[in-house]
């Protein structure tokens, strides 16, 4: 078990000068290779902002304090160009809306090969082979022909698979996944969760999974942290969090799940 990425006392302030607000307050988390760290919370809890802060994707007006450390590199103080090298190469991110990481007017092949060539300096032909391999790995049917198609020609689930392929193209050590299945139908979601779990095990990825869905959390996360009002209220191993939650808020969240309410109405 090796820690790949550590957040220590991470705090983020956002908003205009007149109404500055602390959105993330003192979050400390470790991402471990081969494990999925879940980050749960309701909208407004600051979970997405936390993920964004890791990659330096917050607007320029944001103030980030505390530390985001990857090995010996401190990410919060990196200059833009150095940060760009880390983004995509060592840390990748997928979003709720896969279209956010796909260019609508470029073929899948062009995007994947560009990405691979840019970061890994591969030759065109080599890169194309690698792109097809990646698509095959994320189980996009018929990868060779998929390379020539455009994002809109795929279903939402396939697009998310492609976004994952893109994220994994450069063999990153860390994957940040922000509500990756929220916009998908449950039957499609199940497939993506399988894929995510398999990839983590096979590539020894460290994943930060941000989701409001405790069902999803329970299915794939190894450790779970619960956020509220910008703070971590509780964190620990999955089983313990679900079966023996300590914080009242965690309990409240779990009790609100439809599963917890055994047919009380009918």
């Amino acid at each position: 078990m090796s820690t790949v990425l550590s957040l220590t006392d991470l705090a983020v302030e956002l908003g205009p000068k007149t109404a500055r607000r602390q959105v993330v307050r003192g979050v400390t988390l470790d991402l471990v290779a081969g494990q999925i760290q879940g980050l749960a919370g309701e909208s407004g809890s600051g979970k997405t902002v936390t993920a964004m802060a890791v990659l330096g994707l917050l607007p320029g007006s944001a103030t980030v304090s505390g530390s985001v450390r990857m090995g010996t590199t401190e990410l919060t103080t990196l200059r833009k160009r150095e940060l760009n090298r880390v983004r995509g190469r060592r840390i990748a991110m997928i979003f709720q809306d896969p279209s956010a990481s796909l260019h609508p007017q470029l073929s899948i092949g062009a995007q994947l090969t560009d990405h691979v060539r840019h970061h890994l300096g591969m030759k065109r032909k080599e890169a194309r082979g690698r792109a097809a391999e990646l698509l095959d790995r994320v189980k996009v049917p018929d990868p060779e022909s998929a390379l020539n198609r455009y994002p809109h020609q795929f279903s939402g689930g396939q697009r998310q698979r492609i976004a994952i392929a893109m994220a994994l193209a450069c063999e990153p050590e860390v994957l940040l996944a922000d509500e990756p299945t929220t916009a998908l139908d449950v039957t499609v979601q199940a497939g993506i969760l399988h894929l995510l779990r398999d990839l983590v095990d096979e590539r020894n990825l460290a994943v930060l999974l941000v989701t409001h869905d405790l069902g999803v959390m329970s299915a794939v996360a190894d450790d779970v942290a619960v956020m509220r009002h910008g703070r971590l209220v509780e964190s620990g191993a999955r089983r313990q969090m679900f079966t023996d939650p300590q914080h009242p808020y965690t309990r409240q969240l779990l009790e609100a799940m439809p599963d917890a309410q055994e047919s009380e109405i009918l």
Binding site: S43, G44, L58, P59, A183
Partner: protein, 329 residues
């Protein structure tokens, strides 16, 4: 379209919170808005007070002819021995109110036509849409010239021509806003509660359309002034001896050496148009906080539309909290 509407509802939110906070929103405190308000205010005052502050009767021809500024009068005299300053001040009484009338009439006409087209849709929309396109297909100024010339040169005909050429803009904006509002859930909910189309229009649609239309109108005041003075300059608007800026410049053309006769009315037009554009811009920022927030690279999330896409603090929904979004999408 839906983005537009949610933006509008945000605009409405901004207005409400302004009322509840009784504090000027940031956009009104911007220097440009202030400059605009001061200049426009000064011209309004000049227009109202002209009979009292003007040193001479604008039509009286008693002074020495073509004297440069400072000799007999602050801004000199024209070829007929009239005081340029008095004419300039009285000119404000002509152009500014008429531009206002032009804008209000065009706005009312355009809004009605656009609202009818957008709400009823179908062939009515088709016909009104074609009509709007027809008017918009011609270059504004040339069409206005043709109409003014056909009606006969007079200031009132110039205003009429101005209305005829500018209403389509309001119609277009209103139509698209109404079309997107018409399918909004709250409009449908009211219809399901038995609102008649008139009532729906009056309480659900128009109040939510007025913001953007008023912004457009405020931006159009400057254009209207340019149009009226332009037509007068060409002899299609105000007729001599009326003290009107456009015709004053036109008169100055015959004595090009007497630079003061052209420059000062020109400056008057410039400052008024600029002032109204500044005001219009700021008004847009007030009514549409999103567009200004976007320019600064931050979003605003009063109304997140997708599930869990919003990471806005829940306190944003608590009464009179400012509503900035924390996470860029």
């Amino acid at each position: 379209m839906s983005a537009q509407v949610s933006r509008m509802s945000r605009a409405a939110d901004a207005r409400v919170s302004r009322r509840s906070k009784r504090r000027l929103p940031a956009a009104w405190r911007s220097p440009l808005a202030l400059v605009g308000i001061v200049i426009a205010g000064a011209w309004f005052l000049a227009a109202i007070l002209a009979p009292w502050i003007a040193p001479y009767d604008p039509l009286a021809q008693g002074l020495p002819r073509l004297t440069p500024p400072g000799e007999y009068s602050v801004l000199g005299t024209d070829v007929l021995g009239r005081d340029a300053l008095s004419r300039l001040l009285h000119g404000a009484r002509v152009t500014i109110p008429l531009a206002g009338v032009l804008v209000v009439c065009a706005m009312v006409l355009g809004t009605i036509i656009g609202a009818v087209a957008g709400y009823i849709g179908g062939w009515v929309d088709e016909v009104l849409g074609r009509l709007t396109d027809l008017f918009m297909a011609f270059p504004t100024v040339i069409l206005a010239m043709v109409i003014a010339a056909a009606l006969g040169p007079s200031l009132y005909n110039a205003v009429l021509a101005g209305i005829v050429v500018t209403w389509p803009m309001y119609a277009r904006v209103t139509r698209s806003l109404v079309m997107s509002l018409r399918s909004q859930n709250f409009v449908i909910a009211s219809r399901l509660l038995g609102y008649s189309p008139w009532r729906s229009m009056g309480t659900d649609i128009l109040p939510n359309v007025m913001g953007p239309v008023l912004v457009l109108a405020s931006l159009e005041v400057g254009t209207a002034i340019l149009l009226l003075t332009g037509l007068s300059f060409l002899g299609l608007g105000a007729q001599p001896p009326t003290a009107e800026w456009g015709s004053m410049i036109s008169g100055a053309m015959q004595n090009i050496d007497a630079w003061w006769l052209g420059v000062f009315p020109g400056l008057a037009i410039l400052t008024v148009v600029m002032a109204f554009n500044f005001i219009g811009d700021s008004l847009r920022d007030v009514l549409d906080p999103l567009s200004s927030a976007e320019r600064q690279g931050a979003g605003s999330a009063v109304g997140p539309t997708t599930v869990n896409a919003d990471e806005g603090d829940p306190s944003a929904a608590v009464p009179s909290e400012p509503t900035e979004q924390e996470a860029p999408r």
